[in-house]
Point group: D2
Chain length 425, copies 4
C-alpha cells in the first residue's frame, strides 16, 4: 500500500506553479477530472475577495486558485496525520481532498457580496447541489466526500479539516489573501500549524508546542478582517455593488429592458430560492454555472449610460471607482444625524424617498472573534491531556466581539474632507 | 529646494500596498489626477499577461498595477541619480513619472494578443494619442512628459528610463510577472540594478560592479520568454483567442448579428487604423477606452452556443480551457506534415478549406535576445571609461537568437499522447 | 538644504547587502568612522542572541549587524517624520543615528547571558562610557547623540526612536531574530509601523490606521519571547554557560591556573563594578573591548579536560551540546520535589552540597508583556486626538504577565523521557 | 513497506527551523546519532563561507547548517525519484543520506581557506577518514554510505546526488549562501530542479522542461563566484589569513612561543600529510576534531600585540578589518609593476626581502565555468532520448573560463583612492 495516492496517480501527477506555495502537485484521477470540469473551471472567473482589489490592486486571485491551494494543504495535513499513526485509507484521503476542492464550488459572482442579492440560497447549499450533480456525472465517486462535507462521516477530524476552526479553507485563504493583498501581517504559520496537527478520539487537536502559532493565527485573522475584508473602502464598493444590482432587478420588475448576458438576464428576472434549486436542480445549476464576475462587471459597463439615472450613476461610479464615503461608528448612528443626511441626499439627488435605499446604505459588521462557546480548538498537552484552547493559553481569547455600524453615501452629498488614507486610487 | 517632490505633494502622499514592493508611495498632484482618470482606471480591467493565467493561475495582475509599479521604480531611479549628482529638476522628474505612468495606457484588451486583431494601431501610438488628449484635459501638464516619451528631450537618459534596455517598464514587468506567476527564477535584482545606474554624457550607464546583476537580468528575461510568455500552452490559448475574434469579425462582415457589448460591437464592425485615429481622435478614443478584457471574455461566453459552429467551438474551448495542441520546432514544418494535418482537420471538422485558418494556426516566435547591434547597455568602469556591455563581460551575450516555429490545432484532430506537463488544468 | 544628509555624505554612501532589508545605505562621515572603529568592529564577534543557535542554527547574527539594521530603520523613520512636517535638523538626525548605532556597544560576550556574571555593570552604562570615550576620540561629535541617548534632549521623540515602546532597536531585533531563526511568525510589519509614525507635542505617536500593525507587533513580540528567547533549550544552555563561568571564577579565586585569553583572564580575576569603570574608564574599557564570544567559547574548549571535574563536565556538555533538562512550571516548584532532586544530584555526582548551585539551576522568567502602567504607545486618531493604545484598541492588551519557574539539571540525573521536541540536535 | 523511512523513524522525527527551507525533518536512527556526535557538532563552529562575512555580514552560517540542509534536499530528491518509479531501497536511501550528511565533515577551520595551510590533506580525504572512524563507532552502519561517497556503488545516480554537477551539496550551498549573504540573485530554483530529476541507465538526468532552470542555475553559480566567493575584499581577507597562519608557523619553527589553544598549537608544530593521517588515524583525527574557527580567531586576537611586528600587524589588521588592497587583472601583472610595488613595500615596512611573501600576496583565481569536457548534465528529452546539456540548449554553455590575476598588499603602502565600493565596513 502506498502512502499518499495510488501509484498510477503518483507517477503522473502534474505540477502547478503557485506563488504562495511554490509548487503544487495535482494528483490525477477523479480529482483531476473534477478540476477539468467546466463547473470547476468557472471558478477561474470568480475573484476570491470580490472588490477588495479596489484597495489592494493585487487581490485578483480567484476561487479556482484558492480551492487548489486548499487541496494542496489537505494533502500535507493527511501526510502529517498519517506519519503520527492516524489511519486514513486511500478512499478517505481522496474523499477529504474532493470535499475541500469543491467546498466553494457553489460561490457565485463576487463571492459573498452578491450571495443574497441574485439568488436566495447560500453558497454551501449550492456547493452540495453541485456535488450531487457531479456524483451523477462521475457515478458514486463523490459519495464519501459528500459524507465528509456534511459532517456525517464517523472520522470527525476529516470534516474538521474541511470545515472547522483550523480547516484547510481558512489556512489557505488567510495565506493567499495576505499574499495577494500585500498585507504581510496577515501571514500565518500554516506550515507549522499543519505540522502540529494530530488526532485524538477522532477529533483534530493541536500539539501543545503549536500554541503560539495558534495565537498568531487568531490575531492575524482578526487583523485581516479589519484591515482587508471589512476595510472601509472595500465595504463601500461592495455595498454599492449590492444596490446597483438591486436597482437593476427593480427596473426589470417594472418592465425595463436592461442589457445583460443571458446568464445574468435569467437571474435578474428570477430569484430562485433553495426549494426551487432542489426542484429544478439540473436546469437551475446550468443557469447558475454560466454566471460569474464577468457577467456582472460587463453589465455595469453597459449600464453606465442607462436611461435610469440612478442605475447609470451607481454603475459609472463603480466602474470609474468613484466610491461612496463610508463612516464607521462603534454605536448605532444617532437618528438626527441620519435624518439630516437623508434630507441632504434628497436635496442633492433631486429624487424622492424611494431612492434613499440606493443612496444611503446602512448596516453593521462584526469581526469573527474567536469564541469559546462552541467548537473550540483543542490542545494536546505533553501530558497527553486534551484541553480547550481557552484553558491552554495565557492570552485572553475572549476578546470582546467588535461590532461596527456604518453609513455609506455619495461623497458629493456632503463634501467634507475625507482624510488621507491609503485607499483611494 | 526639495529632493523628490514639491512639499505639498510630499506631505499628502498616499500609500498603496503592493505585494511586489511592499509599500508604494503615490504622489498627489497631476500624477494622482491621472491615476484617478477613467482612462487610467480602465487599466484595472486589462490583464498584464493576457491568457498566461491559464498556465500560471496567479497571473491575473493588470496593466494598472504594472504602471503604478513602474512609477514607483522611476521615483527610486530619480533619487539614485540625483544622489550621484545628476541634476533633474522637479519638472523633469514629474515628466519622467508621467511618461512611465502612461507608457502603456494605449493597451487594449488582452494587451499584445489582440493588438492587431481588433484595431490596426500599435499600443505605443495609442498611448501617445491618449497623452495628447489628457494634455488638453489637464492643459499643458503633459507636454514635457510627451517630449520624454517621444525621445525628443535633450536629457536622453530620461527617455531611456522610460524606454530602453534597462527601463523601468522592464524592471517592473519582469519582477511582477515572476511574482504573480510564481516563476521565481525570473526574479531580477531590480533594486541593485537601480542603485548602480548613473548618467554620463546625458545617457544612462551602469556602474561596473553591477555587471553581474545585468547578466542575471538578461538571462532571467530569456528564461521568462520561454517559460512564461512563449509557453506552449499560453501561446495556444492566445492563438485561439486571435482566431476566435477573427471568426467573429468575419461573421459580422457577412452580416451576422453577434451578441457583444457596445464597445466590442463597434470594433467588430470597424477596424480603424492610425490615420482614422488621428482624424477622429476624440471619438475613437472614447470607443477604445470603453473596451477591455471583460468585453471580450463576456462575448466568448455568449458565443459558446452561437449558431456558427466554428465560433461556438472556439469560444467554448477557450472558456472551458480545452486548448489546442501546440507543436514547436526549431525548423519550419515540413510541407508534407502540414498537408497531412490539413487533410485530417478537414476530415475531422467536416468543414471546407476556408475553415483551415481557424483550425490550423501556424506561426513562429523568437525570443528577444540581447543584441549588440544597437542601443547597447553601457557600463561605467571604475577607470571612468564607458564601454558597451558586450565588451565589458566575459559572458557571451551574442547568444544565437532562437526562433521556434509552431503549429496549433484541436487535440481531437489527432489524439496522440500529449505528454505530462504542468500546464493543463 | 538637503533632505537626508549633507551632500558630501549622500554622494559617497556605501551600500551593504542585508538579507533582512535588501540594501542598506551607510552614510559616510562620523557614522562611517564609528563603524570602522575597533570598538564597533568588535560587535562582529558578539552574537545577537547568545546560544539561541543551539535550537535555531541560523541564529548566528551579531550585534554588529543589528546595530547597522537599526541605523537603517532610523534613517527611514527620520525621513517619514520629516515628510509629515516634523522639523529635524541635520545635526539632530546625525545625533539620533549615532545614538541608535551605539546603543548596544556596551554589550559583552553572549550579550545578556553573561551580563552580570563577568562584570557588575549593565550594558547600557557601558554603552554610555564607550560613547564618552568616542566623544574624546572624535572630539565633541557625539555630544548631541549622548543627550538623546540619555533622554536629556528636548525633542523627546528622538529619544523614543532610540529607546521606547516602538524604538528602532526593537523593530530591528524582532525582525532580524525572526529572520535568522526562521520563526517567520515573529515577523513584524516594521515598514508599515514606521510609515505610521508621527510626532505630536514632541512625542512619538502612531496614526490610527496603524493600530492593527501595533497589535500584531505586540503579539509577535510575545511569541518570540516564549518560542525563541525563553525557549526551554535555549534557557538551559544559557544557564549552563552562566554556571560554567561562575565555576571558573570560583576556581580562580581558589588560586587555580585556568587557560584563558588575556582578556578573559583579566575578568576572571577582577569583577569591576560601575564605580570601577568610572574611575579607570580608559583602561577598563580597553580590557572589556578585547573580550567577545570567541574568548569564552575558546576557554570552554580548553576547559573540557580540566582537572576540576565539574568545570570539565559543564564545558564539555556545552561544547558537545549535551544540555541539561529544563522543567517549566507556572507555580514555584514544591519544596519536596526540589529536595528529592537535590539528593539525586548529590548521589549521581558524588559531590557535596557546594556543587548543587552548579548542577541544579533554579530561577524564573517573565515575558515582557505590554503594560499600561507607564510609557504607553500613543495613538493619533483621525480626529486629531492622541489617546493611549489601551484606550484605542478592542484587543485586550492587559494580558496577564506570565511568569514561569524553572529547574534545570543534567539529564543523566533522572533519565526520564524528555519528549519529542524540535530542539535537540 | 514505508515510502521514506522505517516507521519508527517517521513517527519520531524531529523538526528543525531552517530560515532557508522553513521546516526540516530530522529522521531518528543512525542519522540522528551521527548529528549528535561531537565530530558533527563541531561543524557548528566552522563557518560555511570563511571570511565572506567581512563583506556580507549575514554570512555566518556554518557547515553544520549546510550539511543538514543538504540532507533535507536529499530526502526530497529520493522521494521524487521513487515517485517516478526508480527503485531505491531503505538501506540505499539511508546510505545516500549519511553520505551527504558527512560529505563535508573533514573541513577544518575556515573551510577551504586554510585547507593547505594547517594540514596537507584535502577535506574529502579527511571526510572519508572520519567516516571510517564513525563506521567503527557505529559498527558497519556507514559501509554503504562510504561506497556511495567513493563512487563504488552500482547505482551511480546515488553518488551523483552526493557529488556531481547537480548534487545536493551545490543545491544547498548556492541557496544558503545566497540567502545569508543577501545576494538574492544567486537564488536557484532548487525545488524545480529536484522535481525534474529522473534516472536513466542508473544515471541522473533532468527532464527537458527543466532546462531553463538548469541554465539559471549555471548562471547563478557563476554570479555567486564573482560576486561572493571571489569578491575582492573577501579574497583579500582570506589571503591575509593564510599568510598570518604561515607567519605563525614560521615563528614556531624558529622556536618562538606563541599563545594558541592546545588544538591549534599542535598543528602549528606539526603539519601532517595524508600518509600521517592514515598511519595515526585515531590520534590525528582527535587533534583535528578539536580544531575550529574559534581556535584561529582567538589566536589572532592574542597575536595582535605579539613581539613579532609582522604577525602582530597581520593579526590586528584582520581583527580590526583593515584589509589589504586587492587588484584584479585579466592578464598577469607586468614585472615592472610588481617590482616597483615590492620596493615600496620594503621601503614602507622597513623589513627585508624575506617579509615580501607576507606583504605582497600574488595569485590567480578562476571561476568554475561549466565545461562540456566531462561529466555533463544529461537532459531527458520528451522523445525519451538522453542528450548532454550542451546539445540541448540554445544557450552557449562553453563560455570562456575566466581567470583573474591578483595582487594584494597593505593600503598604507600605496594610498591611492580605493574607489567607492560596498565592501569596507
Amino acid at each position: 500500500m502506498d502512502e499518499k495516492f495510488p501509484a498510477h496517480i503518483m507517477n503522473q501527477k502534474k505540477i502547478l506553479n503557485d506563488p504562495v506555495y511554490g509548487f503544487v502537485d495535482l494528483p490525477y484521477g477523479i480529482l483531476f477530472d473534477l478540476i477539468e470540469h467546466p463547473y470547476f473551471q468557472r471558478l477561474r472567473r470568480i475573484k476570491q475577495t470580490s472588490l477588495t482589489h479596489y484597495v489592494y490592486p493585487g487581490a485578483l486571485h480567484t476561487r479556482f486558485h484558492h480551492a487548489i491551494g486548499a487541496l494542496h494543504l489537505m494533502q500535507q495535513a493527511i501526510e502529517v496525520l498519517r506519519s503520527k499513526g492516524t489511519v486514513i485509507s486511500e478512499d478517505e484521503a481522496e474523499g477529504a481532498c474532493i470535499a475541500i476542492l469543491l467546498h466553494d464550488i457553489g460561490h457565485g459572482p463576487f463571492s459573498h457580496t452578491l450571495e443574497h442579492t441574485l439568488i436566495r440560497v447560500t453558497h454551501e447549499e449550492l456547493s452540495l447541489l453541485f456535488m450531487e450533480r457531479l456524483n451523477e456525472i462521475f457515478p458514486g465517486k463523490l459519495s464519501l466526500a459528500m459524507q465528509i462535507f456534511r459532517g456525517r462521516y464517523p472520522k470527525k477530524f476529516l470534516t474538521q479539516l474541511v470545515s472547522g476552526q483550523l480547516d484547510m479553507d481558512r489556512m489557505d485563504y488567510l495565506n493567499r489573501d495576505s499574499f495577494f493583498t500585500g498585507v504581510h501581517e496577515g501571514v500565518i504559520g500554516y506550515d507549522r500549524i499543519i505540522k502540529m496537527l494530530a488526532v485524538r478520539d477522532d477529533e483534530l487537536v493541536v500539539e501543545e508546542k503549536g500554541i503560539y502559532s495558534i495565537e498568531k493565527f487568531l490575531i492575524a485573522r482578526r487583523l485581516m478582517y479589519w484591515q482587508v475584508y471589512l476595510h472601509k473602502t472595500v465595504l463601500s464598493a461592495e455595498q454599492m455593488l449590492i444596490v446597483a444590482l438591486r436597482r437593476a432587478k427593480a427596473l426589470v420588475q417594472e418592465g425595463a429592458q436592461l442589457p445583460a448576458s443571458k446568464a445574468l438576464g435569467f437571474f435578474l428576472h428570477h430569484e430562485p430560492n433553495q426549494a426551487d434549486f432542489v426542484r429544478n436542480r439540473d436546469s437551475l445549476l446550468e443557469h447558475f454555472a454560466a454566471l460569474d464576475d464577468y457577467d456582472v462587471t460587463s453589465a455595469l459597463k453597459e449600464w453606465m449610460d442607462n436611461e435610469d439615472k440612478l442605475l447609470a450613476f451607481l454603475s459609472r461610479s463603480l466602474i470609474d471607482r468613484h466610491l461612496f464615503r463610508l463612516e464607521f461608528r462603534h454605536q448605532p448612528f444617532e437618528a438626527a444625524y441620519v435624518a439630516a443626511l437623508r434630507q441632504r441626499i434628497l436635496d442633492w439627488s433631486g429624487l424622492a424617498e424611494w431612492a434613499l435605499p440606493y443612496l444611503l446604505l446602512e448596516g453593521r459588521e462584526s469581526n469573527a472573534a474567536y469564541t469559546t462557546s462552541k467548537d473550540e480548538i483543542r490542545i494536546l498537552h505533553k501530558s497527553g491531556q486534551v484541553m480547550p484552547m481557552s484553558q491552554s493559553t495565557d492570552y485572553d481569547l475572549q476578546s470582546r466581539e467588535v461590532t461596527k455600524y456604518f453609513l455609506c453615501y455619495p461623497k458629493a452629498v456632503f463634501p467634507k474632507e475625507s482624510g488621507n488614507n491609503e485607499t483611494n486610487p
